[in-house]
């Protein structure tokens, strides 16, 4: 019986992988459902087991079974590792993704699983924390805070109970690495969390997954059930979000697990000291925790050897949006933005010129091609007025209206604002209204109120375009420096970067004057 490997990743399924799998099963094949290798242009991907190893074909449709099985199908790739998209990747975290049956404990063991946990449990808690520190691993959720330092704080805070919380509320558009890992290699995350539990003395962990990821929820739940004895006495539970982007903010996430409104808490206290139910809590992103088994299994140095500047190790970069070769690309830090977009990504899917790239999700800045020399590195992006965030890059071609995207950033903030702090709660709505006025070239006239005789401070003149733009910049300043969390605080990044790099989309002075006449 021929064994074939077909992804059951949500993206593959969305592209028809289930029907393909059924067709192969019907043809008498033994179908092994795996995670996705991460290049969606070739999904649904079928790998046929042969004496020379797996031979990949993709994309494949349900009618292509015979052609694939007899090797005549036109989309034959050969060994997937030889594909140009994969050949230069450094797969530390995603080594098993696409290769193994995600829920197979034996697959996981055969492919190096549990080695990290075994190594960790042989060490003292402090030694594990030291290893994580030495690896240079920084939080992959966006802020880039050194993971080992965070763990050290939790380890050093005495408490009757502590928690490991995995932030799997991957809400940024253009990112899907967490989802792919949870669907494609869930034991890797489980192992990472168990190691964290050992390292800080926590007995229980929670994985908070957004409800938009039903496949990941199911995979993690099943994997937790199957591996419970392997990680005991450490226990794990999946908690499901309920449609609130802000719960990706760690303190809002903790409140949500506690069964509250997902509102952001003021810090201090840090979650590492007073986190879930007021107890010391490690809260890390999926990718941070999933990097840990490699570090423990292969040694901190082998992780630290890769990278750029203070950004050590690999980053699973997600190339998304209007791009030809969209997908997951795990590589050491330092690759340039241009290489990612044009080289690896292959330019736009539409074939039109690239106009803008948003890096780091809806709170990330828009960069024009003139900035494609930027190396992928926390510090370099921060210096350029942007952020790496969760390492998602969304490519736009020249049909994009950047004022519209700036407006969307404000709109998204308004939709997702928890409502606790004023700059975000009111500012985002005012931002939408203001950009609408700017792009409509209809600056605000003095209202009934300003023209009342007793109102003497307010300007009675209609505002000029420049004044409206200045107000938008002031608003962004208020939101950036005044907001309680990154949602309100970083929404100005896309807005200001759009305004800075693409001013023409916001209407020029001349056009405005004409409209006013």
């Amino acid at each position: 019986m021929t064994r074939v490997f077909i992804s059951k990743d949500m993206a593959s399924v969305a592209l028809g992988a289930d029907a393909v799998a059924q067709a192969f099963a019907k043809a008498g094949c033994e179908v092994v459902r795996t995670g996705s290798h991460g290049l969606f242009a070739i999904e649904p991907l079928v790998e046929v087991e042969t004496s020379e190893g797996r031979v990949a074909y993709g994309p494949v449709g349900p009618d292509d079974v015979a052609a694939v099985l007899d090797g005549s199908h036109g989309t034959r790739i050969g060994a997937i590792a030889d594909h140009p998209f994969f050949v230069r990747q450094q797969r530390f975290t995603f080594a098993r993704c696409g290769v193994t049956d995600p829920l197979s404990l034996s697959d996981y063991g055969v492919h190096g699983g549990w080695k990290g946990l075994e190594a960790a449990t042989a060490l003292s808690a402090q030694d594990v924390v030291d290893a994580v520190k030495a690896s240079g691993l920084r939080g992959r959720g966006g802020a880039g805070f050194p993971t080992g330092i965070k763990w050290q704080t939790v380890l050093d805070t005495p408490a009757d109970e502590k928690f490991i919380v995995c932030n799997a509320d991957e809400g940024d558009s253009g990112t899907f690495a967490d989802r792919m890992l949870m669907e494609g290699d869930p034991y890797c995350l489980i192992e990472g969390m168990a190691i964290a539990g050992h390292a800080v003395g926590a007995g229980r962990g929670y994985i908070y997954i957004r409800s938009e990821y039903p496949f990941a929820i199911e995979a993690m739940r099943e994997a937790i059930a199957r591996s419970a004895s392997r990680i005991a006495p450490f226990t794990l539970e999946v908690r499901v979000g309920a449609g609130a982007y802000v719960c990706g903010e760690e303190t809002a996430l903790l409140d949500s697990i506690e069964g509250k409104r997902g509102q952001v808490r003021a810090k201090p206290p840090l979650p590492a000291i007073e986190g879930l139910w007021g107890k010391p809590t490690v809260i890390n992103n999926v990718l941070s925790l999933a990097a840990v088994p490699f570090i423990l299994a292969e040694g901190a140095q082998s992780y630290a050897d890769v990278g750029f500047g203070r950004s050590r190790g690999t980053m699973p970069i997600q190339i998304a949006g209007n791009v030809r070769n969209g997908g997951l690309y795990e590589v050491g830090f330092g690759v340039t933005l241009g290489e990612l977009v044009n080289g690896i990504g292959g330019g736009t899917a539409s074939g039109r010129p690239v106009r803008a790239v948003q890096v780091g999700g809806p709170l990330g800045a828009y960069f024009p091609p003139s900035m494609f020399h930027l190396p992928f590195d926390y510090e370099a992006f921060a210096q350029a007025g942007g952020l790496i965030g969760h390492a998602g890059i969304t490519v736009f071609d020249d049909s994009v209206d950047m004022a519209h995207m700036a407006r969307f950033a404000m709109e998204f903030c308004a939709v997702e604002s928890c409502g606790k702090c004023t700059p975000c709660r009111i500012g985002s709505t005012r931002g939408v209204e203001l950009i609408d006025r700017i792009v409509a070239k209809a600056p605000r006239a003095a209202g009934a109120l300003e023209t009342m005789p007793q109102i003497r401070n307010a300007s009675r003149a209609a505002r000029t375009h420049d004044e409206e733009v200045e107000l938008l910049r002031d608003l962004c300043d208020t939101m950036k420096h005044g907001s309680l969390c990154a949602l309100g605080g970083f929404t100005p990044y896309p807005v200001l970067s759009a305004l800075d790099h693409f001013p023409e989309d916001f209407g020029g002075g001349d056009a405005l004057r004409e409209a006013a006449e």
């Binding site: 308004a414 009111i426 209204e433 107000l471 005044g482």
Partner: protein
């Protein structure tokens, strides 16, 4: 006193080690844990703020209080950032000013611009802060999305919620959560759509809101505002005074506009309430100017005549003549007086002085007779002092809280909120009560053990707990050995160890599973600091005094007296019931709980008063009534009590009163007792006089006059008029002189005077040379009586028994919105929450009787019968029914019996065997009583009709 707002430090005080930092170039040292905002406020640097207030934990939402800190990125909120050693903070820079204006610009872009016509104009933090940050223009304009069309919620009779004025700072929500602990408010929706909502976005009145006022107090704008402020305008002066409702003794600022009271605002520095309040003290003060107030003295020849308004001279002269006439005819001991737990210490002291010095006997008693007299007896016998051992704040250190026979969330709501805060922090709770009171389970509070015992079995229950503690080796042997009388302990330990007193042996009697009792006892004995709080469910039994002593035994055996977070804490019913007892209101003792038979003490008074005192105890209230029916007791002066409604066996009270020749009632209203009165002397409210109240934690607090008495005199002045008409020659010109006399004659009050009270705000007795700062906690190193005295408390069942005719047990209690006999609260909008007393009955008992929810039922006991409507609930166990007694129409005390506490005659309100049957409406007694009451309240008009 002029009107100044209380200073708001923005965040609560911290108590860590000293930390030095620099704020705007000024060096200062504050406790670690202090926020930058508070630290700045301490050196008079007021950082702009809206969501922060020092009664609530910091929240960090408004973003006005941003500061710059050297070496740190960004602009941290000063409310949520604690100080750190060497920190250098700047609170005013161009950047900060710009950011704050930016935030304020956003606020105002969604706020009505009607400051001049807003009821909070001049008392609005948003208005103040807009000025403080220098807002000059709102460049966004006012055409954007907004909340200005929100509908006002005017459902609550006392305050209005106007969402258009709301800035969603969540102070109200947090106040409801943190301060009150009801969690009735939330934010509905999120983002720009966020709005404050009560419960499920319903009106406040139908929500879980208990109208404590904490949200109104916390609101920085006029989104939540007292209706009286809307009606009368903002106050222009404020006087700090003490609440006249329950024994918690909350301190309030009476905020006035001219001579008119605008609102009562809980005072942050109030040691009992720490700025919190309940629906009664906060809002239910309208009775003070109610039309029912009687302001002219009245006299009548007999109770079937209408009242005749007379001058003060005539009324006082009449009283003096009548009392002397009666004494001449029937003997010195034929008259007496009743002091009021609602009046001040000074007034109470004067009434007992009138009786002892003027009447020449000891026939004085007080309403504590019917509530906490067993506390006096029991704690005096075991510990040596007739009072609770702790201050209220002690509860914050308790690890285990045992509540028995008390319903704090209704009876002592402000203390209940403090207790609930501690419970939310993780303290364990044991509730011993026949009824499932709110504390047993309410949001975020859950008792570890609820022992729903059969009414009347307290002593058996507590002795069974003692059995567990002794037989399982949980006694704090070292404590007992060092602090207690060892012989008494040995005798007691042997007594409780008897298998007949085990939880298993009494299971059938109490109806509580033995394992639960054992578990509760273990928790109490081993759970850390264990505090007992109790109320009238302990005292109002035929074994009331035994129960108090059984409680004291438990506390001593486990070493839980004399330290923080522990103790024995009676929750006093009325505002000054502790004070009334302290002041010598009982017929057997002089102020400071000294027996009248003690010649040395008598001599002290005799010398001061220039009179000879009767060395024999006088009559207690029930004995006065007995004596009246026997014809030996003929005249009584009753100040501020309504014994006809509040005392047991109404028919007996009525008969006693009817048999007297001169009944003088001094009260605000023509109460039920006044139906049998011959002289009515109008009383004054707590707002109309100076004086002191003593709360349940022995805290003496000033009551300050905020308005002139409607009747022309404070109550103490009226007593002085009577005394002088009887020839006593008193010359007090201010209550402080009365307190000086009390201090002079009472060792435990030796250091108390008005100057000290003004300076300290309040003091807790004993305050004297040995305790110059007063005594928040008693019995620290040794018991007042020397060694703690264990007392064997044999369970002697009440003679009130259920049987085929009366198969159910009635127990009584109070409800949050009403107070005692309701004289005050029934004359306020509090009736919106509780317009009538209802009989709580278990669904099973109701079904057996064909009673549906809301049906009229007849409630019959051996003493009498009344009717009221039924409320079917499983809060009461099968076999138990429950009612409140706030409404005279209910006549709950027609039902209650003559049985009383063996030691003090405190009536057995809590156990009456009854039968409940469906009924069509009021009983004959209720009807005839109503007619009598109406006839009795006729007042002859000065101008006769043509």
């Amino acid at each position: 006193m002029t009107f100044t707002r209380e200073k708001d430090f923005g965040t609560p005080a911290a108590s860590g080690e000293a930390v030095s930092l620099t704020i705007d170039g000024q060096e200062l040292t504050v406790p670690a844990g202090t926020s930058i905002m508070r630290a700045a406020a301490m050196v008079e640097t007021d950082i702009p703020k809206l969501c922060a207030t020092d009664s609530l934990e910091s929240f960090g939402s408004c973003r006005l209080c941003l500061v710059e800190i050297e070496g740190r990125n960004g602009y941290p909120a000063s409310c949520t950032t604690p100080v750190a050693p060497g920190m250098v903070v700047r609170t005013e820079t161009d950047k900060l000013r710009k950011l704050r204006r930016g935030v304020m610009e956003l606020y105002i872009s969604d706020h009505p611009l009607d400051c001049l016509t807003c009821s909070a104009n001049g008392d609005c933090e948003l208005q103040d802060q807009a000025g403080a940050v220098g807002l000059r223009d709102v460049r966004f304009g006012y055409e954007g999305e907004n909340h200005l069309e929100g509908c006002k919620d005017e459902s609550n009779p006392y305050f209005t919620f106007d969402p258009a004025k709301c800035i969603v700072c969540s102070r109200c929500v947090r106040a409801c959560d943190e301060t009150q602990g009801t969690l009735a408010l939330t934010v509905d929706g999120r983002g720009f759509a966020s709005k404050i909502a009560a419960s499920q976005d319903e009106d406040f009145l139908s929500s879980e809101c208990v109208s404590c006022g904490a949200c109104v107090q916390a609101c920085p704008t006029s989104a939540l505002i007292e209706n009286t402020v809307i009606e009368k305008g903002t106050p222009d002066r404020a006087v700090v005074t003490t609440c006249a409702y329950c024994g918690v003794g909350c301190t309030f600022r009476a905020e006035m506009r001219g001579e008119e009271l605008v609102r009562m605002v809980p005072w942050k520095d109030g040691k009992a309430n720490h700025g919190h309040s309940c629906v009664k003290g906060r809002f239910a003060w309208g009775y003070a100017r109610h039309n029912d107030r009687i302001v002219n003295p009245m006299v009548r020849g007999s109770v079937d005549e209408p009242w005749r308004e007379v001058s003060w001279e005539e009324a006082i002269g009449h009283v003096a003549r009548e009392f002397r006439r009666i004494q001449n005819a029937y003997g010195t001991r034929s008259i007496g007086g009743i002091t009021s737990s609602r009046c001040t210490n000074e007034e109470t002291f004067l009434v007992q002085k009138l009786v002892r010095q003027g009447f020449g006997n000891n026939n004085v008693d007080t309403c504590a007779r019917v509530c906490h007299s067993p506390t006096g007896y029991g704690l005096k016998t075991t510990f040596g002092t007739s009072a609770g051992t702790q201050d209220f704040d002690s509860v914050q250190h308790a690890d285990v809280i045992l509540v028995i026979g008390a319903n704090p969330t209704d009876g002592h709501p402000v203390f209940a909120s403090h207790m609930k805060r501690r419970l939310r922090q993780g303290a364990k709770l044991i509730v011993i009560d026949p009824r499932r009171i709110d504390l047993v389970r309410s949001p975020h509070i859950e008792a570890s053990h609820h022992l729903p015992l059969r009414p009347g079995t307290n002593v058996a229950m507590l002795t069974a707990m003692a059995h567990v503690i002794v037989t399982e080796g949980l006694v704090d042997e070292a404590y007992v050995h060092e602090r207690c009388d060892r012989d008494a302990y040995a005798e007691w330990a042997e007594f409780v160890s008897d298998p007949s007193r085990s939880p298993e042996a009494i299971e059938e009697l109490t109806g509580v599973p033995a394992q639960e009792v054992r578990a509760a006892a273990r928790l109490y004995a081993t759970g850390g600091n264990a505090a007992i709080y109790y109320g009238l469910g302990v005292t109002e039994h035929s074994q009331g005094s035994s129960t108090v002593m059984a409680i004291a035994n438990l506390a001593m055996a486990t070493g839980n007296v004399g330290k923080e977070g522990a103790g024995v804490n009676p929750l006093r019913g009325q505002n000054n019931v502790q004070g009334a007892c302290d002041m010598g209101s009982f017929p057997h003792e002089l102020s400071g709980y000294r027996h009248i038979s003690d010649a040395e003490t008598r001599a002290l008074f005799e010398k001061d008063w220039g009179a000879t005192l009767d060395p024999e105890p006088g009559l207690r209230i029930p004995n006065m009534l007995d004596a009246a029916t026997d014809g030996t007791f003929k005249g009584i002066f009753i100040q501020g009590e309504d014994i006809l409604q509040s005392d047991p066996n109404t028919r007996h009270v009525a008969a006693g009163l009817a048999a007297m020749e001169c009944v003088v009632v001094q009260d605000l209203f023509l109460n039920e007792t006044a139906n049998y009165a011959h002289v009515f002397l109008p009383g004054s409210t707590f707002l109309e006089k100076d004086g002191t109240f003593t709360n349940a934690e022995r805290r003496i607090q000033l009551v300050r006059k905020v308005m002139e008495p409607l009747n022309g005199y404070a109550d103490w002045e009226v007593v002085q008029l009577v005394a002088n008409a009887m020839g006593l020659g008193w010359g007090y010109t201010h209550p402080s002189q009365i307190m000086d006399e009390i201090a002079r004659l009472t060792p435990t009050f030796a250091g108390v005077n008005y100057d000290a009270l003004e300076q300290r705000g309040s003091v807790q007795w004993p305050m004297n040379e040995a305790a110059p700062d007063g005594t928040p906690m008693m019995h620290i190193d040794h018991f007042v009586r020397g060694k703690g005295m264990f007392v064997v408390t044999d369970y002697v069942p009440t003679d009130e028994r259920t049987g085929p005719r009366f198969p159910l047990l009635l127990t009584t209690g109070r409800i949050l919105s009403q107070y005692n006999v309701g004289a005050q609260t029934r004359r306020t909008a509090n009736v919106d929450w509780h317009a009538e007393d209802r009989l709580e009955i278990h669904p099973h008992d109701a079904e057996n009787r064909g009673v549906r929810d809301g049906d009229w039922v007849s409630l019959r006991s051996r003493a009498g019968e009344t009717t009221l409507r039924a409320k079917i609930t499983d809060r009461v166990a099968p076999g138990v029914v429950y009612t409140t007694f706030h409404h005279p129409d209910t006549q709950a005390n027609v039902i209650t019996t003559d049985f009383s506490d063996w030691a003090t005659n405190c009536p057995e309100y809590k156990v009456t065997a009854v039968q409940v049957t469906p009924s069509n409406g009021p009983s004959d007694w209720q009807k005839s009583y109503r007619e009598l009451a109406e006839a009795s309240r006729r007042i002859e008009t000065a101008e006769p009709a043509e």
